[in-house]
Symmetry: C2
C-alpha cells in the first residue's frame, strides 16, 4: 500500500484496509473499534456520525447532492436507533459555481432536514480556486438522540433473521446510467431517502431489533459481510428473495455489475428476532419507500464469518466483500 | 451574486453575504442565528462545530493539514468555554496520494488530539479520481463539554477590554511565503496550536470572560468587526499595542498586506471585564504560545458597530471588515 487508489474508497475490502491500517491505528479507541454506523457517546445517550459527499453528477434522478448529504448522515444516526437532531454542514465550493445551483442544493437539504426533524446548527463555507475541487463537496455531521439502546452490528445471532427494506441497487445504477448518458429513457431513480420514519415506526411497534445498517457504498454485500465478521456468524442468503427491480437487473446484465454490490442511499438491512420478522415486514410495508421489504437470510454457524448465497437452482456460493474500483464518487 | 467567487470564502464581507443569503436563509434557526464559533446545544451542556480544511500547501512551517484540522475544530470549541471531547474525521483523498504522507498527516492529528484530551470516534474516507480534488481535504467536527457557560460574542460591553493572545498574522504570512517559495531563509512559522490549555487556565483562575474568538480567516479585523456588529459596540484599538513580529511586518510591507487581516490558527481575541484584564494577561503570559499577550482595545459607544484604529501619531481610521480575495486555501 504505497499510494491511495480508487479501490481504497470502494466501501469494500481495500477501503477497510486503509481505514484500519492508517486511521484506526492512529486514533485507536474503544468507540471507534466498534465500527458502527455512528459512534455512541455520552453514556449511550447520543449517536455521532460524519460523512463527506462527493457524488458526481451533483443532480441525478431522484435526488441531488444536497438531499443525499442529509439522508446519508441522518440515516447513519437512525441505524443506531437515534433520532437525528443537530447537524453541521460544511461545503467546499469551486470558484465559479452558480449561486442558483447552490440554492437548489441547500433547499433540498432544508426539505430533507424537515423530514428528519433535524436542524443545521453550525456550518463552514470554503471556496477554492478552479480545479482544486470538482464543483461542490458537502460534509454533514450529525448528533442523534438514542431512542432504543443496544442496537449493534456486533450482536447478530442465530436467533435473528435478516430483512432488506426494499429492492436494492437503485442508487448505484442511477448514478452509473446518468454518467454514461443512459438515463433518458428509463424509470431508474435513486432510492435516496430518509430512513428515520421507518426506524421510528419499528421502535414504536416494539420490534426486537438487533442490528440496522444502510447499504451504501459496497451495497448489500458489504453490510452482510461486515456483520458476518463483526458478529462471528454465517449469513445464508436466499438469493431469490432479494428484491431487485427490472431496470437495475437489466443494467447489471448489460454491464456485468452485481446488484448486491451496488450502492443504495435509502435501503437498509435489519437483523430482527425471528418471532418479530413478520411484524417488522408489516411495519415496513406500510411505507411507500419500503413496500417491498423482504426476509432475505437466516443466520447460522455453517461457515465462520461468511456470507453464503443460495441460488434458486440449489447451488451455493460465497458472497465476498466487494473489491476493486466499483463506482467512485457514488456518494 | 450569480457565481461563487474566491472572495465568498474570504472570512470577510462577501463570505458573510453568501452565508446569510444562502445558508442562514434556508437553515434558519435560533442557534445558527447566534453566529458563535460553535453552536451551544443540549441545554447549554455541549458545544458543536465543524470545519473543512483545504489548506495549500498541505505541509508548511510549523504544522500540516492534519495538525491544523484538529486545532481548528478544537479551538472553536475552546472559544465557547468547552473542553474538546469527541471528534469526527472525514477525509477526501485524491487518487494516487502517497500513503506515507497520509500517515504523517494522521499522526499529526493524533498528537494534537492528545493535547486536547479529545478522541476521534467516527470517520469517513472518500477517494476521488485524479483532478476531482487537490491532494487531500479534511473535515473535522467536534463536540465539547461546556466548562464555563455564557461566553458569547453577542455580549461584549463597555465594561470589557479586548486582549489578543499573541502576535498576529503568522499563519497567513507563512502560507503565503511557502506558496511563493519565500520560506527558505526566514523564521516565519505558522502559529497553528491548540488553545484549550490557555482557555482552561483562564477558567480555572476565574477570569471573568465575556467573549473569545480565534482570529482565523479574515484575521483580527474580522473578529473585531463581527463583535462590534454582534454586540452593538465600538471597539477602539490602540494600533501600537497589537503585537506583530518583524518577519510578518516585513512581508506585509513588501506585498501590501494588512497584518490585521492575515489569518491566524493559534491566536485568539478575548473580551474580559476590565478589572480582570491584568490577571488574564498574567495567565496567558505563562504559556509559551501566548507569552506576548497584550491589551489592545477599549470598548466604547463612540461609533455604532464600528472598529476604530488609533495610530501612535494620534490619527484615527476605521478598520473595516476585510473584503476581496485575500488568500484562498489558507485553512
Amino acid at each position: 500500500m504505497k499510494k491511495v487508489t480508487l479501490a481504497h474508497g470502494n466501501g469494500g475490502a481495500e477501503n477497510q484496509e486503509l481505514i484500519s491500517k492508517v486511521f484506526y491505528k492512529a486514533f485507536e479507541n474503544e468507540i471507534l473499534a466498534k465500527s458502527e454506523d455512528a459512534a455512541i457517546i455520552d453514556n449511550g445517550r447520543l449517536a455521532f456520525t460524519t460523512d463527506s459527499f462527493t457524488v458526481s453528477p451533483i443532480f441525478f434522478n431522484g435526488a441531488d447532492i444536497g438531499k443525499l448529504s442529509i439522508c446519508g448522515t441522518c440515516n447513519d444516526l437512525a441505524m443506531m436507533g437515534a433520532k437525528p437532531k443537530y447537524l453541521t454542514c460544511s461545503v467546499i465550493i469551486e470558484e465559479g459555481f452558480e449561486v442558483d445551483k447552490l440554492e437548489t442544493i441547500v433547499n433540498s437539504m432544508k426539505i430533507e432536514l424537515e423530514k428528519n426533524g433535524a436542524k443545521v446548527v453550525s456550518g463552514d463555507t470554503k471556496v477554492v480556486p478552479k480545479g482544486s475541487v470538482d464543483k461542490i463537496f458537502i460534509n454533514t455531521t450529525g448528533i442523534g438522540e438514542v431512542q432504543k439502546e443496544g442496537i449493534s452490528s456486533n450482536k447478530v445471532s442465530t436467533d435473528d433473521v435478516i430483512i432488506v427494506s426494499r429492492d436494492i441497487g437503485a442508487h448505484g445504477a442511477t448514478i452509473f446510467a446518468s454518467r454514461e448518458g443512459m438515463d433518458m429513457n428509463t424509470d431508474l431513480q435513486s432510492d435516496c431517502a430518509s430512513l428515520w420514519p421507518q426506524v421510528e415506526a419499528l421502535i414504536n411497534e416494539n420490534i426486537n431489533i438487533t442490528a440496522l445498517r444502510d447499504a451504501t457504498r459496497g451495497g448489500l454485500s458489504a453490510v452482510l459481510n461486515e456483520w458476518a465478521v463483526q458478529s462471528d456468524i454465517c449469513i445464508e442468503v436466499n438469493e431469490e428473495a432479494v428484491p431487485v427491480k427490472d431496470e437495475v437487473k437489466g443494467l447489471c446484465e448489460l454491464l456485468g455489475f452485481e446488484a448486491m454490490s451496488l450502492a443504495n442511499e435509502g435501503t437498509f438491512v435489519l437483523a430482527v428476532k425471528k418471532e418479530d420478522a413478520k411484524k417488522a415486514i408489516e411495519v415496513l410495508s406500510s411505507f411507500e419507500n419500503s413496500s417491498n421489504a423482504s426476509i432475505i437470510a437466516d443466520v447460522t454457524k455453517q461457515y465462520d464469518k461468511k456470507v453464503v448465497l443460495n441460488s434458486p437452482w440449489g447451488t451455493k456460493r460465497f458472497l465476498e466483500l466487494p473489491t476493486g474500483e466499483l463506482l467512485p464518487r457514488i456518494c
